[in-house]
Amino acid sequence: MAAFLLRRAIQGLAIVFTVVTFTFVLIHAAPGEPFGALLEDPRFTMAMREQLRARYGLDRPLPEQYARYVAKIASGDLDISLSKLRPVRAILAEALPRTLLLMSVALAVGFALGIGVGALQAWRVGSRTDRVFVRLTVAIAAVPDFWLALALMLVFAVKLQWFPVTGIVDDAMHPFLSPFGKAKDVLRHLVLPAGTLTILVAAVVARHQRAALLDVLPDDFVRTARAKGLSERAVVMRHALRNALLPTITLLGLALPSLVGGAVFVESVFSWPGMGRTALDALSARDYPVVLGTVLVGTSFVVVGSILTDLLYAAADPRMRRA
C-alpha cells in the first residue's frame, strides 16, 4: 500500500512538473517578450519590476530562466496578482475551497444519484422506466452546462424565487448571522450551482453505470448467486452491482478535469467566487500570474483526485490490493 502510494505520488509529481514545463513553454511561445507585458504593465511599480527582473533572470539564458521558474513554483511562489496586487497564492487559497465545496457536493450527490438510477435501469432493462431514463440521460448529456445553469437560475431563482440568484452569501446580512445561520446562507446559495453540476454528473454516471451493470449481469458468479437462492434484488444489487461499481470509480478519475472545467461556467453564471470565476476575472484583467496559478492549482487538484480515486479503486477491488 505504501509502495503504491509512493509510486502514484511520484507519478503525480511528474505530471505536475510536466505541466509546469508546459506553462513555461507557453509563456515563452506567446507573442511579445515573456513577462514583457508584466514588466511594461503600468500597474507595477519600479521596485516591483526590478524584483521581477531579478527573480526571473530575464536577461539570463533560457535554461536558467527555466530552472528559476521551476524553483520558484516548487517553493510555492505563484507571483503577485497584477490586478489585485496580492500574492496569487493567497487569492487562490481563498477561492479554492469554494470550488471544492461546489465540486464535492456535485460529485457526491451526482454519483450517488447516477449509480442509483443506472443500477435501477439495468435491473429493469427494457422496461418503461429504463426507456424513459435512457432518453432523459441522453438529453441531459447534450445540454451545455452554462445553459442549464441559466435555465435553472431563471426558473428557480428569478421566477420562483426559491433560491438566491448569485453569490455565495448574502453580503448584506451575512456578517450578522450566527454560525449556523452563516452555514445555512452558504447552503442556500450552493443549491443551484451545485444542482446544475449534479444533474450533469448524474446523467453521465447513470449511463455509464447502466452499461457497466449490464456488462456484469451475464457473468458466472451472478448465476452462482442466483443458484444459492438469493432474491433477484440481492443478486443484482449486492453481487452484481458491487462489481459494476469498479468501472464507475474509474469514471470518477477520468471525469475530474471536465468537472473543473464545468465548474468554471457554472461559477460564472452564478457568480460563485471560486477558482473558475477567479480565472475568468483574471482573463479579462490580463492578469497572467493568476491565470497560470489556476492552471497549476487546477491540475494539482486533478492529480490528487486521481490518486484518491486509485486508492478508492484498490479498496473496492481486492484483486488490486496486492499490486
Binding site: 458466472d220 443458484a227 444459492k228 437462492g229 462489481n243
Partner: protein
C-alpha cells in the same frame, strides 16, 4: 418401490432466438433416487448443462422451459412453484456446483462471506454463526487452516481449492440433491481425482444424491451408480453403470467409449466419432445421430426411435435395439443396414 427424490418428466427447454428456435432440451425424462449418483454424459451441445439449469429454473431468456414439462421434487412440481418457493429450494434443498471455479465465485467478496451467505439467507443465521458454519464447511471439504482461508478472496486460491469452496457452498444447508455441472473439467487430473473422492465421501456421509454432469466417461465410471447419455437434446441411453460399460446399447455410447484413450492401448491414432453435433435449431429428422452413425439405415432417417430395452433397467434410443419386429423384412426392397456391425 419408494418414490424417487427427483423425477423429470418430458422436460423441454427451448431458446427462442432471432436465429430460430433452438430445442436445447427436447423431451428428457429421468429420475434420481435418494442418495444415488446419476451421471449425465454427452458432448457439448447435447443439452446436459441446460438440463441442469432447468432443474432450478436458472435458464435465462430467451430460453424458456416449455409447458408440458414437469420436475417433481419432494412432492411438488418445481416448474409450477412460485418464485419465492423456488428460491427456497435453491441452495437449500437442491444445490448446484458449477464448472468454472475461476469465474463462478464473486471476486470482491471473501469466500467465507459467500459460503456464509447461504446460511444467512436460508436459515436466518447471524453473521457470526453463519461464518462459523462456513469455516466448518471449509474444513469438511478438506481445506487446511479453514479459519484463515475463509478470509481469503477467490483470486488468492488455486482452482482446486475454489472448487472445494463451491462444494462447501453447495453443502451448507445439507441439500437432498447436488447438481454438479462438470465439476472437474477445468482442473488438473490429479486435482480431479481429489475432488471426485471428496464428492464420494461427502455423499456417503450425508446421503446426498448427486446429479453429475460430465463429458468424461472415466469420471462416470468412478463415481456414478447410474448413467444417462444425452445427444441431440434427448436421452439416448440409460443404464446402471456396469451395464452401460459392459453392453453399451447406443452407437453413440459405443463411440464415446472407443474414443476414450486407455493405458495399454495399442493404437497410433485415437478413434473419433466423425462429424459434429448438429445445431439445436435444426435437429435431423428421425434419429438425430444418424449422420454420424456407422450403422444408420433408411429407417433411421424416417422414424425417430423410442427408448428400447437392452437389458434390465437399461434402455437405448436406437432402432438397432428394437427387438420387436424386424423392419428389414416388413419394408422389403433395399432396407439393408449399412456397414457391418452385427447387433451387439
Amino acid at each position: 418401490m419408494t418414490e424417487p427424490l427427483l423425477r423429470v418428466e418430458n422436460l423441454r427447454t427451448y431458446f427462442h432466438t432471432a436465429a430460430g428456435l433452438a430445442r436445447a432440451v427436447d423431451g428428457v425424462s429421468f429420475s434420481i433416487a435418494r442418495g444415488e449418483t446419476l451421471g449425465v454424459v454427452g458432448e457439448s451441445g447435447c443439452g446436459k448443462s441446460v438440463t441442469a439449469l432447468s432443474m432450478l429454473r436458472l435458464v435465462q431468456p430467451p430460453g424458456r422451459i416449455e409447458p408440458g414439462s414437469h420436475i417433481w421434487f419432494e412432492g411438488r412440481d418445481l416448474l409450477s412453484a412460485s418464485d419465492e418457493e423456488i428460491r427456497r429450494v435453491r441452495g437449500n434443498r437442491i444445490a448446484m456446483v458449477f464448472q468454472e471455479p475461476m469465474t463462478a465465485l464473486n471476486p470482491v467478496f471473501t469466500v467465507g462471506d459467500q459460503i456464509a451467505e447461504v446460511a444467512r439467507v436460508h436459515d436466518g443465521a447471524s453473521r457470526r454463526a453463519a461464518w462459523d458454519r462456513a469455516v466448518d464447511m471449509l474444513s469438511l471439504v478438506g481445506i487446511p487452516s479453514p479459519r484463515d482461508r475463509a478470509s481469503n478472496y477467490p483470486h488468492q486460491m488455486s482452482g482446486g481449492m475454489r472448487q472445494r469452496v463451491l462444494i462447501a457452498m453447495a453443502l451448507m444447508m445439507n441439500p437432498a440433491l447436488i447438481i454438479a455441472d462438470e465439476p472437474t473439467t477445468a482442473l488438473d487430473v490429479t486435482i480431479q481425482a481429489q475432488i471426485l473422492e471428496l464428492l464420494a465421501s461427502l455423499q456417503q456421509k450425508f446421503g446426498t444424491a448427486i446429479l453429475l454432469i460430465t463429458h468424461d466417461l472415466g469420471v462416470v465410471a468412478e463415481v456414478a451408480s447410474r448413467v444417462i447419455v444425452m445427444y441431440g437434446g434427448q436421452v439416448v441411453e440409460e443404464a446402471p453403470v456396469r451395464s452401460l460399460f459392459a453392453e453399451p446399447g447406443h452407437p453413440y455410447t459405443k463411440g464415446l467409449m472407443q474414443a476414450m484413450p486407455r493405458v495399454g492401448m495399442d493404437r497410433e491414432r485415437l478413434v473419433t466419432i466423425p462429424g459434429t453435433v448438429p445445431p439445436p435449431t435444426a435437429w435431423p429428422s428421425g434419429c438425430r445421430f444418424r449422420d454420424r452413425c456407422a450403422f444408420a439405415w433408411e429407417r433411421c432417417e424416417r422414424e425417430h426411435p423410442g427408448l428400447q430395452s437392452v437389458a434390465p433397467l437399461h434402455t437405448a434410443r436406437c432402432h438397432l435395439v428394437d427387438s420387436g419386429g424386424d423392419d428389414s423384412a416388413s419394408s422389403g426392397g433395399d432396407t439393408r443396414r449399412r456397414g457391418e456391425g452385427a447387433r451387439p
